[in-house]
Amino acid sequence: GAGVSQSPSNKVTEKGKDVELRCDPISGHTALYWYRQSLGQGLEFLIYFQGNSAPDKSGLPSDRFSAERTGGSVSTLTIQRTQQEDSAVYLCASSPHGSGNTIYFGEGSWLTVV
């Protein structure tokens, strides 16, 4: 597609349930990022993938969060046993390489945990 595609755009889930958020980066982009944005806050780095290298998971807030990137393209962010504080917009972004390049954001997945 022309841009970074994320799904679902909105998700309401009950506390304790698992959720999966999907990101389809721009074709040809080798770098993929996940950020989290809570209401009125900045963007919190979660995880970074670059090609076949080991991902940088240093931003994941707890072991309930995990992410995969299959075939160097689509990525899935999984949150297990969701908590109310997980409610936020989860933004995926991609860039051509990763070093010094502009990153292009998707529209985000708005997660609400009730």
């Binding site: 770098a31 990022y33 950020y35 806050q41 900045g42 963007l43 919190e44 780095f45 970074y48 670059q50 940088d56 933004l91 990763g98 070093s99 010094g100 502009t102 990153i103 292009y104 954001f105 998707g106 529209e107 985000g108």
Partner: protein
């Protein structure tokens, strides 16, 4: 860890007035980027600054990177209602992982027509 701070958090102006947001890093940056996020939208890249003391202009927007590469500013001349949104700076730490962008909390600009 690296911190990027932005001030002010909010700014309300009358249309036609100028606006400035400031960004300060706790560490020296290799480069800094600026993004704009419209209400309900996602961040969109505006510009990247790399050189010490660099100044770049985009129409009514002027971006500066400090001599020490630890601070930056965005100035909008004669604001318009289309300028409404949150402006984020994002820095890459010098000598560190050159892919990780650390974002400031942003400055929300509202413009009264």
């Amino acid at each position: 860890g690296q911190q990027v701070m932005q001030i002010p958090q909010y700014q309300h102006v009358q249309e036609g007035e100028d606006f400035t947001t400031y960004c300060n890093s706790s560490t020296t940056l290799s480069n800094i980027q600026w993004y704009k996020q419209r209400p309900g939208g996602h961040p969109v890249f505006l510009i990247q600054l790399v050189k010490s003391g660099e100044v770049k202009k985009q129409k009514r927007l002027t971006f500066q990177f400090g001599e020490a590469k630890k601070n930056s500013s965005l100035h909008i001349t004669a604001t318009q209602t289309t300028d409404v949104g949150t402006y984020f700076c994002a820095g890459r730490m010098s000598g560190g992982s050159n892919y990780k962008l650390t974002f400031g909390k942003g400055t929300l600009l509202t413009v009264n027509p």
